[in-house]
Amino acid sequence: MITAKKVTKEYSAKRALDAVDLCIPKGSIYGLLGPNGAGKTSFIRIMNQITAPDHGDVYFGAELLRPIDIARIGYLPEERGLYKKMKVGEQVLYLARLKGLTTNEAKSKAKEWFERLEMTGWWDKKVEDLSKGMAQKVQFVTTVLHEPELLIFDEPFTGFDPINTNLIKNEIKRLNENGATVIFSTHRMESVEEICDHIGLIDNGKVMIEGNLLEIRKHYKDGTFAFTTRTSISDWGKHEVLSQKEDPMGYRTVLKAVAFPKDLVISLSQKEALVAFEEVLPTVNDIFIEIVKNGPKPWNHE
């Protein structure tokens, strides 16, 4: 859907993006991750053509990004807001028409969304009279109303209350199932782990790692295993114990094994002490810390 090739953007002293190569597959839910100031928003603004890259190209589908593509993108910026004195309905129509919809198209689509999100009756209210949660829903509707092929959410869940967060997560999933490509940009990596299928990790303007989330997590697995046992066991032989705590099923022990701990699994099962056993894949957070510390791990495809 979006392909960035060697995209570089500099602000006076700082290089916000440094030869960034990214590929956001069509139909994916893509997590654009990285700490604050990593360059996520700079990249998003380039996709939205708010700014232009100093070097490099961005492709939308197979073609270079054009001004007209703006109508195919829905963008919820981190800094969001609405005209306070304007009526909700007028505002939704205005923003939709800026994206190229006709008044009638915008009206009928807005009606649909207002019903779906239980917002009917808000049409003639002024934004300043809405609660924060209500304004967030309006903001969401304005982002998706023109049925964009690409949806970009910058820090989507900050400022949303838990009920709205859930509601909106579900709506986003539905839009994705209907064919929209979704980009989440956030520094709270754990918040998107369950929802994203692809990620790109950026730090200091550089792409650290990018690809299918599951593959990446598999690639970065480091021999961490979790055993849940009926009773507390203290002797784990040569394996390094990372954590141990009681849980509803017994005692959960996470350890780092040098190799696959086959013997442990066998002996514990024979003693009928083992309730559950799993390999723990690293979280995105873990991977990020690992990469920042030790650099990316080379892919050696067998």
Binding site: S12, I50, I70, R80, G81, R97, L98, G100
Partner: protein, 435 residues
């Protein structure tokens, strides 16, 4: 797909025109304007408080002069009163002031003129003093003339009032009577109006930019349209609001003036008109002269000039103000940038008097070429008839500068609207130009 800039213009225009404050200001504006025209006339026609002045006139200099409408002079008998008695009288009576004219020795006019005293229960007004000065001077002059054996009648006949009629040399022999006072007034009023409107609407542009920035909607908008389009849409939309307001104001003022003059105060205006046409001969010539002067003013030029310089000045300044608005987070922070931006306009207003006195001087010329002052200064000069090439040159400079400034302001705007929580310095603004 319609051009988004029209949508922006439409929103800027409608959201302002539909506001209650717009409707209020637009309707009250002409009322205030009409009041400005009517009230002074009304006040002048109202009877004023009568002041009674008691006069102790030892040399019988003023006697039996009774004063005029506001000031009644009443005389004490100098044989029965002296200054102390008169002061007591003032204290205990309803008189407002006491005028004491001593006779001195020999009734010497030079002694008298230096020793006249005026006492008031309150500070005597400047107007009263002026009036008494005038009366006394007249009487003392006459006394002196008589003393030197000159008949005051002859002096009155000799006294000449020079009345120069000035003309501007016309091209084909039809010289026009020059109309400096009318032109001065016209230049000054239109210049002030331009200043006021440029400032009024430019500040609205700045507020609008700041509103979008502080409400954080701006990033949503500029992901749909170019920042430049948003800025220009705002400037044009608010400019249209100004046009509408003008048209309503002019129309309503006219209607109001007609209504008031024909229905409410018909006798007042009839009087004025009668005085102008058939009343005393002095009023007659003044009226005709004013008519002549008005005819010599080229109103087409002035109206066209006003429209051009209003828009030129407004576009130029509103672009600057938009850049200022984009660079700051709160209105309070805007002061440091606004002052340097408005100084040229203030300069043009300060020098307005000099320009009026010498509309073709070099100060006037240069101020009407510099684009930041030309809308005001050129407007002041226009009624005086300015060589066409100067008008076109100044207009061309203004338009050219507008395009340059809009480009630069757009660059600052583009960066500024996305910059939060940072106190911006001038140095930084210049850096943004290079982003």
């Amino acid at each position: 797909m319609s051009n988004p800039i029209f949508l922006i213009i439409q929103r800027e225009f409608l959201s302002r025109v539909r506001k209650k404050t717009f409707i209020l200001v637009t309707l009250i504006g002409p009322l205030a304007f009409a009041a400005l025209m009517i009230v002074p006339g009304l006040l002048a026609s109202m009877p004023e408080d009568n002041k009674r002045i008691v006069v102790l006139d030892e040399p019988s200099l003023l006697l039996p002069h009774e004063g005029k409408e506001q000031y009644t002079l009443e005389y004490l008998d100098p044989r029965e009163n002296d200054l102390e008695l008169a002061k007591d009288l003032l204290r205990d009576s309803e008189y407002d002031a006491l005028l004491y004219i001593p006779s001195g020795e020999n009734w010497d006019p030079d002694f008298i003129k230096n020793n006249i005293l005026l006492f008031g229960k309150e500070d005597p007004s400047m107007e009263l003093q002026g009036y008494l000065d005038y009366l006394l001077e007249e009487q003392i002059n006459q006394a002196k003339l008589l003393k030197n054996g000159v008949d005051p009648e002859i002096v009155a006949q000799i006294k000449t009032n020079v009345n120069i009629k000035s003309f501007t040399l016309g091209e084909e022999g039809n010289d026009e009577q020059s109309a400096v006072p009318i032109k001065m007034a016209l230049g000054y009023i239109t210049g002030m109006l331009i200043y006021f409107f440029i400032f009024f609407y430019s500040v609205q542009v700045m507020r609008g930019v700041m509103e979008e920035k502080s409400s954080r909607i701006v990033e949503v908008i500029i992901s749909s349209v170019r920042p430049y389009q948003l800025m220009m849409g705002k400037i044009l939309g608010i400019g249209l609001v100004g046009v509408l307001q003008f048209i309503i104001w002019i129309g309503l003022s006219g209607v109001l003036y007609t209504v008031i003059s024909t229905l409410i105060f018909p006798e007042l205006f009839a009087e004025q008109a009668a005085a102008g046409i058939a009343g005393n001969p002095a009023a007659d010539t003044v009226g005709l002269e004013v008519m002549d002067m008005l005819r010599s003013v080229n109103f087409t030029t002035i109206i066209t000039g006003f429209a051009f310089y209003f828009f030129g000045g407004y576009f130029l300044y509103s672009a600057l103000f938009a850049a200022v608005g984009s660079a700051v987070d709160q209105e309070a922070d805007s002061q440091q940038f606004m002052l340097p931006v408005t100084i040229p306009m203030i300069l043009a207003i300060i020098t307005a008097m000099n320009v009026i006195q010498e509309p073709n001087g070099s100060l006037a010329f240069w101020m009407s070429m510099i684009p930041l002052t030309s809308p005001i200064t050129m407007m002041i000069r226009l009624p005086f008839g300015i060589p066409l090439w100067e008008v076109f040159l100044s207009g061309a400079i203004l338009v050219a500068t507008f395009f340059i400034v809009v480009g630069l302001a757009g660059k600052i705007y583009r960066v500024g609207i996305l910059m939060y929580g940072k106190k911006v310095t001038w140095k930084e603004l210049f850096k943004w130009l290079k982003y």
